[in-house]
């Protein structure tokens, strides 16, 4: 088999290159076993710490925070004898407390992770073992290694990334559900490695070479070398990803290639996001100011001490030493830093974290964000930018799925230049809309039963709960089948029951009636048939039947060999041959009316032919689905003729449903074949040659099939109209058809414009017939592209582009995507709140404008400015011109506002370095901006430009993968957990289910979070400055020697315990304005936008107030006790007590709400202080030297003077603030 040389070579290669080699773990080769061992095992540990490493590691991590370093520095400073201010032990209390609190938090989080890890590692799967009877034995996940063979049954979860080697499916296909990975619940097809010899397990001697582990979920490149040295390319669709679920396949066997932390799922698993909020940046500035203040105070004391010392000689109270006054002053500087350390609000950072967590708790628990249809609440993924929600100035919104439902419903179409308005369909949609408005709470109940049903019907250990909790459910419609609540999104009656246009039906019926003879009609008929054929097959829709959830209809049962043998005897030749001719004419574009033989047994009834009924391919009436002759037992049951389409995007589903309404039904799909039912022709098996999937740069997708009737290779392409219209060039040398094509293009374009104006999403459908040789050439290069490891994506893209040329335009579709509820209200509220709303969409300009009108972004009084240009110069001129216009308009004051509409190309120019200034200047003056035809990259560029250049707070909201970059760039990214998977949600800071939630999220929670946090931060600064200044004033009366008049425990605890809880509660619960008022008056939001609650002036005013209060709080006791026999602690006692009262009552004045919780905490804090000092003054006999508090507070609190001083101080200190509040 393998010679030694090549083996060592592999071993060498796999070590050195960015590749990995995988062989069966059963190999006896030592060296290869070594290589396998070098890969990480499947045990996952997401915990940061182990039992032993917790303390050192956690400490190390915490020491990375600057604040903690500062704390430790102070604590260490206190151990230096010449500068120490307190007992060294006391000064380490704060740092210990902060570290401990953080450590406990980390420990708790880590423990939760540990529990979940343990659970996952302990899951069981079947692994092939040679030791135990050469059979599959149960193993825990953590014991799975690279190279192991794993056998999985239906609905089991994949334990590691593995290559699919065997599937019980005869076509080597298996389906996985990636909901656990990205939240998409549609099934994805995976395929056994091509041309794999039957060599499973025991005699598996192939070698797999693949990339090193990476986090790209959609890419896997490598090849497998068989013992015969033949190589086969490995793609993403050979790979089963960890944590996905096997569906619809009885058994699969795979070989593990990546395990544990090297799996793509784990590589993609990033923790929560950390962003720094605007308020925090502002806060950091003020912390710096505090530092400056601290240094000034310490310098004052240091200089004062130096001067004071110089004037003194030979005193009995000075300890004789030889240090010069200057040096003493220097030492004192550091002492003072220790004494006044509280000025830097260290605990502020911890407090902010706690407060934000609580704010998030409240946001998450808001009932208004609960979506009962999806059973989902808001998800807060970023934990520390809650207050940014209150300062948003620009909102960038995606359109589809964000403003709209993203429930695509086929509305109308144009085929071969003829418009079919589908009036009935429009009426139907209106009815649904009304229905929905009536309310649809009945769905919940039905879904509840649906869930239990679906659970019962499952034999395997599938956890339906996880599935449903992870992903959203559709809203608004009753589930069509009791088993699949999730799929109501794609197959609700509204989307499904399309009423066909009678005219079109009539035309289509010609196919099965003698009327087809009419020449023009026939020509048109080819177009129509092709059009619906394309709708039905040009997609990646997976078909399944409802009663057997997640089980794909076994289209494979209708394999081609069988099909052909069966079909010929049962169906008459004539209609097919006719149609074939029809198609060949169409393809050759030289249609001539050929008098074809009259079909002998043509199905005249659209409902089907009695003759065919006996055959497998019988056509059931109407919307009936696949007949289940020899399928699973469930197929035989009654009343389940329906098919369920699961599409990656709702558009696709809508189109397939539309095709089905015209009885062009997609009945099944396997890897190589599609089963399509055509009217009058019965089920046809279409050989699927290639799928060129959709990508955002091509903006189209294609399928290459062998046409069942003509046996030609046909390319069906579906894509954005702009792209397809360009590609759809008329075939050369065919005059007649050219003219026709030209006409069709012209007409179609006209219709497309109409559709767009109506706000419909448009898609163009085109086809191309390939000559065999042409196909062969293309195929070769395509195969090369597919197997190459490097640059595969580029090559594939190029290959696809090569194919998609010279298309024949068939027609276009218009799809309705309704606005979500309350979108206009939300946008209006946002605009009233001073938030500028931009819509960035990939849609056409007309569609975008239409939607903008519908959601009141554009008002009728607004002046619309459109910017479409082809060159940079033109763009520049246009921008200037528009700006002039805006200025004129502003001067005139006639119009209420301007709305700028930019298309993608213009945007490209506008975003360039030299034009962006003009562009911003223009857009800044506009009330709203709509960017259409923009790519994901442009979206993020726009957001970035606005954010950086205008220095504003931006929020981006979107639901799809194309919004991810924009969401990440914006200060606040919001994902809508809708129907396009979870990518947007995964990259967002907050995930909501409806656009309307944005209103409360910003106007209420954003406002609250911001004001609360801002007020709390100011309060913290106030509190610290106020208290620390008391100590500073005392320096003037103790020779600037760094003495304090307080017991050092009380001093340390004052900030840490006695006055820490009330501000936290203040930051969590205070409500300056009620929620109702905030919703009613969006204008109130502006205060947050302008950072009103926390302006520099507010900061300095607060500082001044703190200074005043500290002066009062110090000097009233000073004069009251001046010249008396009061000792230091007795002097400090009333000062402390009144400082506490002032600080607490200050908060009462500042709070806008007081609940029993506030009262509890405030009273509790005060009681805590007084009881602590009292007990301390009784119990502490020799502790805490030199400021031993024995008897001090007890004595003080028994004297009326104490209360007299406290009352006077408190009242006088709070007088200005109280008057000001008034």
């Amino acid at each position: 088999m393998i010679d030694d040389d090549s083996k060592t070579e592999w071993a060498f290669e796999s070590r050195c290159r960015a590749r990995r080699t995988v062989v069966s773990s059963l190999t006896e080769d030592e060296e290869l076993t070594e290589i396998l061992k070098s890969y990480s095992s499947n045990k996952v540990t997401t915990t940061k710490y182990s039992f032993l490493s917790f303390i050192p590691k956690n400490l190390f991590e915490q020491l990375h925070r600057f604040a903690n370093i500062y704390f430790i520095f102070l604590a260490a400073l206190n151990f230096v004898p010449v500068v120490n201010a307190f007992q060294p032990e006391i000064s380490i209390i704060p740092i210990l407390l902060v570290l401990a609190v953080t450590a406990v938090k980390d420990l708790w989080e880590d423990y939760r992770k540990h529990k979940s890890d343990k659970f996952i590692n302990g899951l069981v799967c079947e692994i092939y073992s040679r030791l135990i009877h050469s059979m599959y034995v149960d193993q825990r996940w953590q014991d799975v290694h690279v190279g192991d063979f794993v056998r999985l049954s239906c609905n089991e979860i994949i334990p590691a990334d593995m290559l699919l080697l065997y599937s019980s499916d005869p076509h080597g296909v298996c389906y996985i559900e990636t909901a656990n990975l990205d939240g998409e619940t549609n099934l994805k097809q995976r395929q056994v490695v091509r041309d794999l010899p039957r060599q499973v397990c025991e005699n598996f001697h192939s070698r797999i070479e693949c990339e090193n582990p990476n986090n790209d979920l959609s890419r896997f490149r490598g090849f497998m070398e068989y013992p015969s040295k033949a190589r086969v390319g490995l793609h993403n669709n050979n790979l089963l990803l960890r944590s996905c679920t096997i569906r619809n396949t009885e058994t699969v066997i795979g070989i593990v290639v990546y395990a544990g932390h090297e799996t793509k799922a784990m590589k993609n698993n990033n923790g929560p996001r950390y962003k720094r909020s605007k308020l925090e940046r502002r806060l950091n500035v003020d912390v710096l100011w505090s530092v400056v203040l601290l240094v000034i105070m310490c310098l004052t004391a240091a200089i004062g001490h130096g001067l004071w010392l110089r004037n003194l000689k030979d005193t009995s109270f000075l300890i004789p030493d030889t240090t010069s006054p200057a040096l003493s002053g220097f030492y004192l500087f550091w002492t003072m830093i220790i004494v006044l350390q509280v000025l830097i609000p260290i605990s502020l950072y911890v407090s902010i974290e706690i407060v934000k967590l609580c704010q998030i708790f409240f946001i998450q628990n808001d009932v208004d964000f609960y979506n009962e249809y999806m059973d989902s609440r808001i998800q807060c993924r970023a934990l520390n930018i809650t207050e940014d929600l209150g300062q948003i100035q620009y909102v960038f919104s995606d359109k589809t799925g964000t403003l709209t439902e993203n429930k695509m419903v086929f509305r109308r179409c144009t085929i071969a230049g003829v418009e079919y308005p589908h009036e009935e369909n429009a009426r139907r949609l209106e009815v649904y809309e009304e229905d929905e408005a009536m309310g649809c709470s009945h769905t919940l109940k039905s879904r509840a039963s649906a869930k239990s049903l679906s659970c019962k019907s499952l034999s395997c250990n599938r956890s339906s709960v996880s599935l449903h909790t992870l992903t959203g459910h559709s809203e608004g419609e009753e589930s069509p089948s009791p088993t699949l609540p999730r799929h109501s999104a794609f197959s609700s009656p509204m989307e499904k029951d399309i009423v066909p246009d009678p005219f079109l039906v009539q035309k289509l019926n010609c196919l099965s009636s003698p009327l087809f003879l009419l020449r023009d009609a026939s020509m048109e008929l080819t177009y129509i048939v092709d059009f619906f054929m394309a709708l039905a097959i040009c997609n990646t829709v997976v078909v399944s039947s409802p009663n057997q959830p997640r089980h794909v209809v076994r289209s494979t049962r209708f394999g081609l060999p069988r099909f052909s043998t069966l079909s010929s005897p049962h169906t008459t030749e004539s209609p097919r041959s006719f149609t074939r001719r029809l198609f060949s004419r169409g393809k050759a574009a030289s249609f001539t009316p050929s008098p074809s033989p009259t079909p002998t047994k043509l199905g005249t009834e659209p409902d089907g032919e009695p003759n065919l009924e006996a055959s497998i391919l019988s056509i059931r009436p109407g919307l009936d689905g696949v007949p289940g002759e020899d399928g699973d037992q469930g197929y035989e049951e009654e009343g389940e003729h329906e098919l369920i389409y699961e599409a990656e995007s709702p558009d696709e589903a809508a189109l397939v449903h539309a095709a089905r309404a015209y009885r062009c039904t997609l009945q099944g799909r396997s890897l190589e074949r599609l089963l399509v039912e055509l009217p009058g022709m019965g089920s046809l098996a279409v050989r699927l040659l290639h799928i060129l999937p959709f990508d955002s740069s091509r903006k189209r997708m294609s399928v290459v099939v062998r046409h069942p009737l003509t046996n030609q290779v046909v390319v069906y392409t579906k894509g954005a109209d702009s792209v397809i219209m360009d590609l759809a060039e008329s075939p050369k040398g065919a005059e007649q058809s050219d003219g026709r094509q030209g006409h069709i293009r012209e007409q179609t374009q006209k219709h497309l414009d109409n559709y767009a104006r109506e706000g419909l999403r448009t898609l163009c459908i085109a086809k191309k017939v390939l000559e065999e040789e042409e196909y062969e050439i293309w195929l070769k290069r395509h195969a090369f592209a597919e197997t190459s490891i490097e640059n595969r994506e580029e090559l594939l893209l190029e290959s696809a582009q090569r194919l998609e040329t010279n298309l024949t335009l068939l027609g276009a579709t218009g799809i309705v995507d309704r606005l979500q509820e309350e979108v206009p209200e939300t946008i209006e509220a946002l605009q009233r709140a001073g938030v500028k709303v931009w819509v960035l969409t990939g849609d056409k300009q007309e569609t975008a404008i239409n939607i903008a009108c519908a959601c009141k972004l554009l008002r009728t009084t607004d002046q619309l400015l459109t910017a479409n240009c082809d060159s940079k110069e033109a763009c520049k001129a246009l921008l200037l011109e528009l700006r002039a216009e805006v200025e004129r308009g502003e001067a005139a004051e006639g119009t209420s506002g301007f709305t700028l509409v930019v298309d993608g190309r213009t945007l490209d120019f506008a975003l360039q370095e030299d034009l962006k200034g003009d562009f911003l200047e223009l857009s800044r003056r506009c009330r709203a901006v709509v960017c259409c035809r923009s790519t994901p990259l442009q979206k993020s560029h726009v957001v970035q430009l606005v954010r950086d250049q205008l220095r504003v707070m931006t929020l981006a909201i979107g639901d799809g993968a194309n919004d991810v970059s924009m969401i990440q760039v914006a200060d606040v990214g919001i994902g809508i957990s809708g129907q396009e998977g979870m990518q947007a949600v995964m990259s967002s800071d907050f995930a909501i289910s409806r656009f309307k939630h944005l209103r409360k999220l910003l106007l209420v929670h954003g406002h609250w979070c911001y004001t609360r946090l801002a007020n709390m931060i100011l309060y913290f600064f106030y509190k610290n400055v106020m208290y620390v200044n008391l100590l500073f004033w005392y320096q003037f009366f103790c020779g600037f020697s760094g003495s304090v008049m307080t017991n050092s425990w009380v001093l340390i605890f004052f900030n840490l315990l006695f006055t820490s809880a009330p501000p936290l509660l203040y930051g969590i619960l205070d409500k300056d304005v009620s929620a109702d008022t905030l919703i009613k008056l969006p204008e109130l939001y502006k205060s947050g936008q302008n950072s009103k609650a926390y302006l520099p002036s507010t900061f300095w005013l607060t500082m001044l107030d703190a200074l005043y209060q500290s002066l009062v709080c110090f000097f009233i006791p000073y004069f009251a006790y001046a010249g008396s026999d009061a000792d230091m602690l007795s002097f400090g006692s009333p000062i402390n007590a009144s400082a506490l009262l002032i600080i607490l009552l200050h908060q009462v004045i500042e709070s806008r709400t007081l609940t029993w919780l506030h009262v509890l905490v405030l009273v509790g804090s005060a009681l805590f202080y007084f009881s602590f000092t009292l007990v301390f003054s009784v119990v502490c006999v020799t502790c805490s030297p030199p400021t031993n508090p024995l008897g001090v507070d007890k004595l003080q609190m028994s004297q009326p003077l104490f209360y007299g001083v406290c009352a006077l101080t408190t009242v006088l200190a709070l007088l200005p603030r109280y008057t000001h509040q008034q």
Binding site: S466, A1126, G1204
Partner: protein, 369 residues
Amino acid sequence: MMASSYNAKEEDRHQPGATGHVGSGTMTNKMPDNTAFKQQRLPAWQPILTAGTVLPAFFVIGLLFIPIGVGLFVTSNNIKEFEIDYTGVDMSSPCYSCSQSYSWNNTKSCTCSVPFSLDQPFESNVFMYYGLSNFYQNHRRYVKSRDDSQLNGDKTSLQSPSKECEPYRSSDKPIAPCGAIANSLFNDTLELYYIDPNGSRTAIPLVKKGIAWWTDKHVKFRNPSGNNNLTVVFQGTSKPVNWRKPVFELDPSDSDNNGFINEDFIVWMRTAALPTFRKLYRIIQKKPNNMTPTLPRGEYILEVTYNYPVRSFDGRKRMILSAISWMGGKNPFLGIAYITVGSVCFCLGLVLLSIHYRYGKRNSADISS
């Protein structure tokens, strides 16, 4: 299920582990509890600071504070206090010579007599203080320079005092009591004589016990136990550098006032808060069953044994005689402050009231709009 329940997602989910185990059948409803707390609808008292609630507060404070202030002021004024500076800065001062020729090491004490007269008699108990000025007993290093365990009678601390006491920790033997505070103990002796109109001097009895805090005397300060003979107890220690006599000879006549529990010493050890302070020295008790005042009007002589040097740092020494009321010694400040703050509040209330009446309508219109 749980294959992907890693951190980020897990946090988003409600009860991540449980849902999986509870498993099939149960429907997890993620609807948040509609409780007042979670929906932030707790019944709250909103202290809406409007004229209606604020103005009364001003008047109430004003009306409360002014009488209190008046009361305090009157009380303070009724307290008689007499103060005499005996530092001897002036040439004319009787203690001038003592103050000039002084150092800690003087063995011979210098005495001087300061005559003074009381214009008004002291009726009740009189507290006799000595006062020091410009004496920073609150200096950080001075304050620290003591050993509370030693003073509490701890034997090990007696033999090896705390490092804080440096450089007054030990001379050749450990110093008891150690530290700078003890070392700088005020050691002037003050005696008071009443000069009868007929010229004879009557010594006024000065009580030297009861001047320290009860907790200090009985809890905080303790002589090392074991032996009643303090001389034995303090054997192996030396006296503080500036002291003339060791700690066990502070009051040889009274064992309850000797050693660490000597009250003069205890009082000194309670460091004063401010550089100008007074400390209780003696109490002159009202004579029982006698209608004559404690200190009648007339001439007095203060006999000072001048030991304590203060001239080097511009210090001052005073002797103070003062009566005491319920709110302490004589201090008019608090009364005046109360009256002032009370009047300010009252005036503010009036001003605000007038503003309220003049502009009130407009303000309320602003609020409601």
